[in-house]
Each structure stands twice: as C-alpha cells, then as structure tokens.
C-alpha cells in the first residue's frame, strides 16, 4: 500500500514543486530527482507484485472517507476549471457539457453515492503492474526529455511568456492521475482521475494559447467530456440499480450475469463505459481531437497522446473485455468501430507528410486495433492487446521524441525535410529507424502482437475484422516504409548536425530505444511473467497465440538487426561511386545533372502520398459517418435490448494446433533451404528464360545461364554508391533464407510470410539509401507492390488455419484432404498476386528480370557486382518459396500428393511465364486496384464460407 501511495504521491508533490520553482537549474535537478524516484518506485513496485494474483487494498473507513471527499473536491475543481475556460473563451458546447458534468458530479456524490460503502479501494493485478511500468518508466523518461526540449522550445518561441513551471506541473499531475486510474478499484475514483487526465491534456494542448491551440483544446475537451458524462451516467445507473461500484466486483458480477435478468441491467453501464473508453482512445468518429492535439509541445504528444493517456481508454476496454463475451451488442460496437478505425486511419496516414500527423494517425489506428482486440474478448485477443499497448507505448514515445529533436534541429516536422537524415543526424536517424521498424515489421514487437491479433481474429471467425486487418496492415507497410526510405537516403558526406542536441534529450531517447529492444527481445519473458498470469487470473486459462519458439526466433532476429543497425551499418569499406543520372552528372550529392537540352537540372523526388485514393478529403467524411452510425445504433440497441440477447458463447473458437515450431526444426529447414533454394531457383530462372525465348520464337540461353550471370557478377569489381547498400541486401538475402527455412522446416506459415516482408523491406531500403532518382522510383513502386499483394497473402494464411486447423506447414501432411478443396477462391487470389510478387508483366512495376527496362532498372539501378549477385540469388530463393506456397494447397496425408503438388507448381510457373509474355505492363493504379479487388472478393467469400461452414457443420 505504501508503494501505491508513494507512486501517486511523489508526482503530486513534484507537480507542486514545479509550480513553486522558477529557476532553470533547480527545476532540472528537482525534476530529474522526482523522475528517478518515480521510475525506481515503479520498478520496485513491479518486482514486489510480480506474478502475484490480484491484491486488494482496504483502507480504514476514516481514511477512505477523507479520500472520498478529496476526490469529490478534485472533481469539482476540474469541473470549475473547465467552466471558467469555457466562459473565458465563450465556448457554449464546452460550457454546457461542463455544467452537465458538474451537476452530475454533485448529484452522484450527494444523493446517489451517499452512504455507499466500498469494500475495497485499490487493486493490483499484473495488468496494473504493466501499466505502472509504462507510466513510471516511459512517463519519467519523457519528463526528462521535456527539460531539454522545453528549453529549446522557449528559445524558438521568444515571444511567449516562460510558462515552463506550469508545463511541468501539469506533466507530473498527469502522471499521478494515471497511476490512480490503473490502481483504483473504486469507480468514482477512477472517474475522477479520468477527468484529471482529460483536463491536463486540455491545458497542455492549449499551452501555446494560439487560436489553433485553443480551438483544438476545446475540441478535445468536448469529445472527452462526452465520454466523461457517459462514465458518470454509467456510475449513476449502476448505483441506482444496485450493481456493484467496485470495479473488480462489477466486472465479475457482469460476467456472471450471462443469461440472467441482471444482464439487462449490466448492458447499460457496460456499453457506456465502453463508449467512454473509446472517446478517450480517440476512436473514430472522435479521432479529430487526437489529430488536433498534435499542436501541443512534442513531449506532451509523446506522453499523453500516444503512450499513456489514450492508453487509459484501451485499459478500460481491456478490463471490460470479459464482459464483451456476454454482451454481443457492446462487443459489436467496440469491434466494428475499432476495426474500421484501424483501417481508415492506416489509409489516411499514407496521405500525410507531417511527421506528427502520421504518428497521430498511426496511434489512432493502433488504438483501434487494441480496441477491436478488447471487443473480441478471448484470452488470445487480450494477450495481443496487452502487447500492442506495451510496444506501442515504448516505440511511439521513441518516435515522438526523435521527431521532436529532429524538428528543433532541421527546423521542420515534414517527412520530406528528413531527407538524408541518416547522414545529417546519424545517431538520431538510427533511433528513428529502430522506432519505425518496431512499429510495423516483424520480428519487432508490434508486428508480433499483430500476428497474435490475426490469430485471435481467425480462431474466433471474425471475418470483418480479418478483412480490415489485412488491408489496414498493408497500408501500414506503405506509410512507414516510405518514411523509412526518406531517412535512409545517403548522398554526400555532410556534416553531422546533431552535436547540439541536449543531453537530457539523448538520455531519454536512448532510454526509449533500450526499452524497445528490451521489450522485443524479452517478449517471451514479459509474456510468461506478466501477461499470462493476468489472463489466467481473468479467464482461468492463458493460451498462447504464438508459440514460445517462434517468439524466441523473432527475439534472435531483433537482436541481429539491432546489432547491425547500431554496430556495423555504414562501416564497410567500399569504393564509392556516384549515382546514375542518365545525363552528365554535375553534382551527384545534389542530384544535379546536365540534361539533353544542355541546361543544368536538379532531380527531385517526393514520397508518394496517393491523395486521390487515401486523402483526407476523400476518406475522412465517409469514415466519420459510418463509424458514428455504428456507434449510435449499437449504443441505442444496447441500452434497450443489450441484455435480452443474454448469454451468447462465441460462435466459433478454434484451437490452433502447433505442430512443428521448434528452433531446431527451423535450423534444419534453413540448412535444407540453403541448398535447395539457390539450386532449384537457379534452374527455375534458367527454365523461365528458355521458355520465354521459345515463346518469342528463338532458342534462348543455356539452362545454367542465371548461374553464369551470378558468377560473372561476383567476379566484377566491388564498387557501390554508398557503404550501406551491400549490408541491406545481405540482410534481405539472409531473411529470405530464414523464411525459406521456416517453411521447409515445417514451421509457421505466417512467420514465413512476415520474414519475406522483412526481406522486401531491406531490399527497398537498399534502393532508397542510394538516393538515386531511378532507384527511388523503383523503391516507391516496390512498396506499392508489397501493399498490393500483402492482404491476399494474409488471407492465404487464414484459409490455411480454417481448413487445416493450424498455421504450421507440417500440419498440411496431417489433413485428410488438401487445402485446395475448400480454399480454391483463395488459391485463385494467390495466383493473381503471385504475378506481382514474381514481378512479372503486367505487374513488373518496380523492375523486371527480362529485357523490359523502363526507368533503367528500377530498384536495382545502383546495384552492381556482388550486391546484384545477391539480389539474383535472393530472387531464386523467393521463386522456390513462392512455388512452394502454391504447392502447399495440394498436399494432404497421402505421400503421393507431393508429386501432385510439384506438378501443379510447375504448371503454375508455366502459367506465370505465359502471362508475363502475353500482357503489357499496367500502371500502378491498376495494379493496386485489381490486386485489392481480387483479394477482397476471393478472401472475403472464401473466409466467410469457411467460417459459416465451421459454425454450422
């Protein structure tokens, strides 16, 4: 108990001190001291309660009474504060809501709750421990960062009064409120802390007092007060109907009420609390407040608007999640709105060039995913949700801090201006790259969590969510990938601009980076120490969506990438040559060349924003309308008929069989693939060229021509446009080999898919790093291609689970019938996107293996010699792997089926060559459009059919 008191008390005290201290130095010392205390306390707290079952804290009645009054006073103060601001700035809506809230608060305290006895006040379980660690460590890290950042901020805005004491007081007060939310078991107290965080956020958004800031602050307060009022109504309703007001009891009683008359009573507060959580988590249609909140100083965005405060919203939803199994309408609301938010915000992020706005959209999108997981409510989904919370908190704060520092040094938060950051701010760029990779690519945490999400959606037959997840994830690849590419560009040996970065900023950024790596590598440990005990406590079981060995493999790969990124990358000794400019190069580093007409020109390139497809103008309104409609319909339905549906167990709940996922079998697979992949791939490539030649009425090269080509390339002189390109390509090759190893070792198909994507990312990065105009265009197109085919590949994995009951390739040999029998629409979809994946005409946009050579040679423009040889070998291996994906549809327990599978794969390969030689290249728009239409139709129809079959048969 003392620990909890001090965790809440220390930040409160620090907040008061911050208000009192005006001197910079004293403030720095005090802030660092309090931050260290908070961080240390949270760690001690975590160690103390590690692995314990929930602990309840009962306060003596007198203390509880006093605290209750204090709480009420804080509530009134918060209301009065908002009221005063609303009057001062003449905001009627905010004024009205504040009045409603005040009246409600008084009514609840004086009449509804009068004489109500709470049996416990505080409760600690493993989820609160995780949240406390996030708040304590990430929160304090950001406060340290803010010391340096706000000093720069004040220098950049000399016209503003120095209001730093106020700023830091708010940050610390916020931390105290957050601790309160995660520890309180008394709903009235949770609500008070909830409102305090809203107020802190409001004041920090309006910190600069510009018109924009004030407007956005009021948008935030109005939307969050809607949630606040819903929270109050929930409390009042529960109290008036005799439902428990201790949150843990409420949850338990609610879960038990299934099928009884009490269910109708519980339905109302449950859906209202869910609504409150969703406003806080900025789910559509309330996403605009979080976008507006980006005007606040960057530490605020990092702390409140990505890593903690918005997490309070999903924290509440995760707590409620066992109830969503009982109340299907509330669950539907959360699931549909969360899923749509994930999809739309991922799309919208593509169209943004302002780094903070991209981060904001991605935050909303990820909160949407967490929300959807909470709504599904199975232990697997909650496992994924908790990990999404953890990884998002650490990775996003790292990114916000990096963007904040970059902004102060390059004078812009536009991604376009971060061109060449890899050289201008070498350390910062690497940290930013680490943060970005953690957000969207396996083996890093966010994607592993998303993987678990996919598994949990697939096992419960959430067809809509699967579709939303598949397309949303594809968009995620696009907007992170192109940002990463911008950072990776290297042109000339420019001076490092980062010597002036504050020490406090560095220490915070390094802390976040260490946290990111520690969480990624320590994922199996976090799972067994925190998450599984929590799930066991809530559900009585803790099934894993991802096997331990797979997590271990991912952890090893993370460690490898981190070592390369911060160790060897850029240290290779190479003969460096200028990039190809298709003219006379005047200045390679500035990309200036003499064109055909004589004059000097500069080649420029911007990222793709696809405004016409994913722009705000196009998507924002429909998305808002759809989500708002879902919200209203579900709210109304739930209030009037929420309980009547009563106990609905999940329509389907598959158990995934884990058959062959050991590290050992993967290693054997890698060894096998190391031989089979290149040899078979080389023969396939030779065959491809001969067959193509025959189709063109000529003889063609010898069968081993690809082998001769690679031998020659290896013998060429070793030159490169920069010192990193070769390293990226080597990594791409290694990941392809591991992907093949996972597949041929009989391991998890999804992991194989993710590793192929990882390999594609490094291939793309190599092209971007050259900063050659042609390679960049190739890389842009390659990203688009990945985005085009990715959804279909995920559908293949889902189809595999629904037909064979496992994601493991080894499981195919246990089936009584091959996948093709029930998953032929998905097979057709796979054939369609295979053309994109093999880069064959009509979808050979990024580059082509044959003599078509638009835009010189796309992605590989700057690659030569050994690097190009590695690319060739990588493609051989990829071809073998993709053909194996095709063959996998035709395998079952009969050993002869392997022969059939090989024959089919050969036929498909021939078909692809035929398509390649008979269709003209299309534009990227058609590639994206058709790939997505085919994926949507084939995937949706097939998965829906399979799910219905499983439910009814």
């Amino acid at each position: 108990m003392e620990l909890i008191v001090s965790l809440v008390g220390v930040p409160c005290l620090a907040a008061l001190l911050m208000l009192a201290v005006r001197c910079d130095k004293a403030r720095n010392v005090l802030a660092v001291a309090s931050v260290a205390a908070i961080g240390l306390l949270s760690v001690v707290f975590a160690v103390r309660y590690l692995g314990e079952s929930p602990v309840y804290f009962v306060l003596p009645e007198s203390t509880a009474g006093v605290l209750g009054i204090v709480n009420f006073l804080i509530e009134i103060a918060v209301g009065a504060f908002i009221l005063a601001y609303a009057i001062r700035y003449k905001r009627m809506l905010a004024l009205g809501l504040a009045l409603v809230q005040l009246v409600m608060a008084v009514w609840i305290e004086v009449s509804v709750l009068a004489g109500h006895e709470f049996s416990t006040q505080m409760r600690v379980d493993q989820l609160s421990v995780i949240m406390a660690l996030i708040i304590g460590i990430v929160g304090s890290g950001i406060c340290v960062y803010a010391l340096g950042y706000m000093k720069d901020f004040q220098e950049h805005h000399p016209e503003q009064k120095d209001r730093r004491p106020w700023f830091f007081a708010l940050m610390f007060a916020f931390l105290a409120a957050m601790f309160n939310i995660v520890f309180s078991d008394n709903m009235a107290w949770i609500y008070t802390a909830w409102e305090v965080t809203t107020l802190c956020s409001f004041l920090l958004i309006g910190f600069t007092k510009t018109d924009e800031a004030i407007n956005n602050a009021f948008r935030q307060i109005v939307m969050n007060m809607l949630g606040g009022v819903a929270f109050q109504v929930a409390i009042a309703f529960a109290a008036l109907n005799g439902l428990p007001l201790v949150f843990s009891e409420f949850l338990m009683a609610g879960a038990m009420s299934a099928g009884t008359a009490a269910a109708a009573l519980f339905a109302v507060p449950v859906v209202l609390l869910a609504f409150a959580g969703m406003t806080k988590a900025a789910q559509m249609p309330f996403h605009t407040w979080l976008l507006g909140a980006m005007v606040a100083p960057t530490p605020t965005s990092a702390l409140l608007h990505s890593s903690t405060m918005v997490k309070a919203g999903v924290f509440l939803l995760i707590k409620l999640s066992p109830l969503f199994l009982v109340f299907p309408i509330a669950s539907g609301m959360v699931v549909i709105v969360g899923g749509l938010t994930f999809l739309f915000c991922s799309f919208l992020a593509i169209s943004q060039s302002n780094a903070k706005r991209v981060l904001a959209y991605s935050t909303i999108a990820n909160l949407g995913l967490i929300t959807a997981c909470a709504g599904v409510g199975t232990p697997e989904a909650i496992w994924a949700a908790i990990f999404l919370v953890v990884f998002h908190a650490v990775a996003k704060s790292l990114l916000f801090l990096c963007v904040g520092t970059a902004e102060h040094h390059i004078g812009s938060r536009n991604i376009e201006d971060m061109d060449e950051l890899f050289e201008r701010m070498p350390r910062l760029a690497r940290f930013m790259m680490l943060g970005i990779m953690t957000m969207f690519i396996a083996p890093f945490g966010m994607l592993v969590s998303k993987w678990a999400t996919l598994v949990s959606f697939a096992t419960t037959g959430q067809v809509l969510l699967l579709v939303l997840l598949a397309f949303g994830s594809a968009a995620t690849f696009m907007f992170w990938g192109k940002w990463l590419g911008k950072l990776a560009g290297i042109a000339a040996h420019r001076e490092s601009e980062e010597v002036t970065v504050n020490k406090t900023e560095w220490s915070a950024i390094i802390l976040m980076a260490v946290l990111v790596v520690a969480c990624c590598v320590g994922m199996p440990f976090i799972s067994s120490a925190f998450v599984e005990p929590y799930l066991a406590g809530v559900y009585g079981m803790a099934p894993l969506a991802i096997g331990f060995d797979n997590m271990a493999i991912m952890a090893i790969i993370v460690a490898f990438i981190v070592v390369v990124l911060f160790g060897t990358l850029g240290k290779a000794k190479k003969k460096v040559v200028p990039v190809y400019m298709a003219g006379i190069t005047v200045d390679s580093s500035k990309r200036v060349f003499k064109g055909a007409l004589g004059g000097e020109r500069e080649a420029t390139s911007r990222n793709w924003y696809l405004e016409g497809i994913f722009g705000e103008k196009r998507l924002d309104k429909p998305a808002t309308i759809v989500t708002a409609a879902v919200l209203v319909v579900c709210l109304v339905a739930s209030i009037f008929a929420g309980g009547t549906l009563g106990s609905v167990s999940l329509p389907m709940y598959l158990q995934t069989a884990s058959l062959n996922e050991s590290v050992f079998s993967t290693l054997i697979g890698i060894v096998v693939f190391l031989v089979v992949g290149p040899v078979l791939g080389c023969l396939l490539a030779g065959l491809d060229r001969i067959i193509s030649a025959r189709m063109q009425g000529r003889v063609g090269p010898p069968l081993l021509q690809p082998y001769y080509d690679v031998r020659k390339l290896i013998a060429k002189d070793d030159v490169s446009v920069n010192t990193v390109e070769g390293t990226y390509i080597t990594m791409a090759l290694i990941f392809t080999l591991i992907a093949g190893g996972v597949f041929f070792g009989g391991g998890n198909f999804l992991m194989c898919v993710f590793l192929v994507t990882l390999s594609a990312l490094f291939f793309i990065l190599a092209a971007y790093s050259s900063r050659s105009p042609y390679a960049e265009i190739g890389a842009d197109r390659e990203i688009l291609q990945v985005m085009s085919y990715e959804p279909m590949i995920l559908f293949v994995a889902v189809g595999m689970l629904l037909t064979m009951g496992t994601f493991d390739v080894a499981g195919l040999f246990h089936g009584s019938a091959p996948m093709i029998v029930a998953a032929w629409p998905i097979f057709i979809g796979l054939l369609f996107v295979l053309t994109i994946k093999l880069r064959k005409s009509p979808f050979d946009l990024s580059y082509s293996h044959h003599a078509h050579q638009e835009l010189v040679k796309g992605v590989t423009t700057e690659m030569s010699g050994r690097t190009l040889a590695k690319v060739e070998v990588m493609h051989w291996c990829e071809n073998v792997l993709f053909m194996a994906w095709v063959a996998m549809f035709f395998v079952w327990s009969n050993p002869a089926s392997i022969a059939l599978a090989v024959v089919v794969a050969a036929a498909v390969y021939f078909l692809e060559i035929w398509i390649d030689n008979n269709f003209a290249r299309v534009k990227w728009q058609s590639c994206l459009k058709w790939a997505w239409i085919v994926s949507l139709v084939a995937g949706l129809v097939n998965i829906l059919g399979l799910v219905l079959y499983i439910i009814f048969a």
Binding site: K594, A693, R698, Q705, R711, A715, A851, V856, T861, E862
Partner: protein, 148 residues
C-alpha cells in the same frame, strides 16, 4: 571460357550516328539473331553492363556523356565501336563539329567498321570483345589478390 565471357551484358549508346548502325544493333538483339544464346542481354544501365556498344562519332555535345557512361561501368569492361563513324568518324571526319572516333573519348577495345555495320559483324565484334574481357577479368582478379 570463364563465367565472365558467358554472360556479357551490353549497353548501347548512340553518339552522333545517322541511326543506320543503331538499327543494326537493335536488329542484332531481335529474335532473328537471338544473342541471348550467348548470354548477351541488353541492359539500360551502365552499372550492370560489361560491354559498351557505341555507334556514331564523338562531338562536343556527347563526349561527356560517353565518358560518363564508360566511367560508370564497373570493371572489367570492354568498348566496342560499332560502325565506321564510331571507329574513326567516317565521312564526318573533317566536319567542324566532330572530334573524331570514340577512341578520342575513351579507350576502345574492338573496332567494327561498316556503313552501316551488319548485325553479324556486331556479334563478331562482341565475341572478340569477350576475349579481351576475359583478360581484363584475370588482371582484375590478380590485382585484387595483390591488394589483399
């Protein structure tokens, strides 16, 4: 024959040719002659190419371009001058705006005369170039060994 000569990738540049020789270079790349039988591929990118086919002579306008393409090709590399203009500037030899054959800009390894040069002659020139490519490749390997 080592792997180098089994996989000669060419790049074609038109200096100031009348397009007669260009057409013949392209003709050599058509299915009729099917140079891919010898592993020859036309790349559009100097960084991937081993053999540089130049048609037409060198003038003030294009000398820097010819030099740049040559410089950007990765060692070992061979230059084949296709047609009489590329060899010696041909009938344009004394023109006020002509510098001369390709060898005025970059070292040429094989001269293939003709006006216009016949596809068979081009292929023959490339095959002769392969021998030189082989030698250069050996020299490069030797110097690499020394360097180590």
């Amino acid at each position: 024959m080592s792997s180098v000569s089994k996989s000669p990738w060419v790049i074609h540049y038109d200096g100031s040719s009348c397009n007669g020789c260009d057409i013949e270079v392209l003709a050599a790349l058509t299915p009729l002659y099917d140079v891919e039988r010898f592993g020859i591929i036309n790349t559009g990118n100097p960084k991937h190419a081993d053999i540089f086919l130049v048609t037409g002579s060198v003038n003030e306008q294009n000398i820097d371009v010819v030099k740049e393409i040559y410089d950007q090709m990765v060692e070992p590399k061979v230059v084949v001058a296709c047609g009489i203009c590329a060899c010696s500037a041909g009938i344009f030899h004394d023109c006020y705006n002509i510098i001369g054959g390709v060898d005025k800009a970059i070292p040429v390894d094989v001269y293939v005369p003709g006006c216009a040069v016949r596809p068979e002659a081009i292929i023959d020139g490339v095959v002769q170039g392969l021998g030189i490519l082989e030698e250069k490749s050996k020299a490069l390997a030797a110097s690499k060994k020394k360097g180590e």
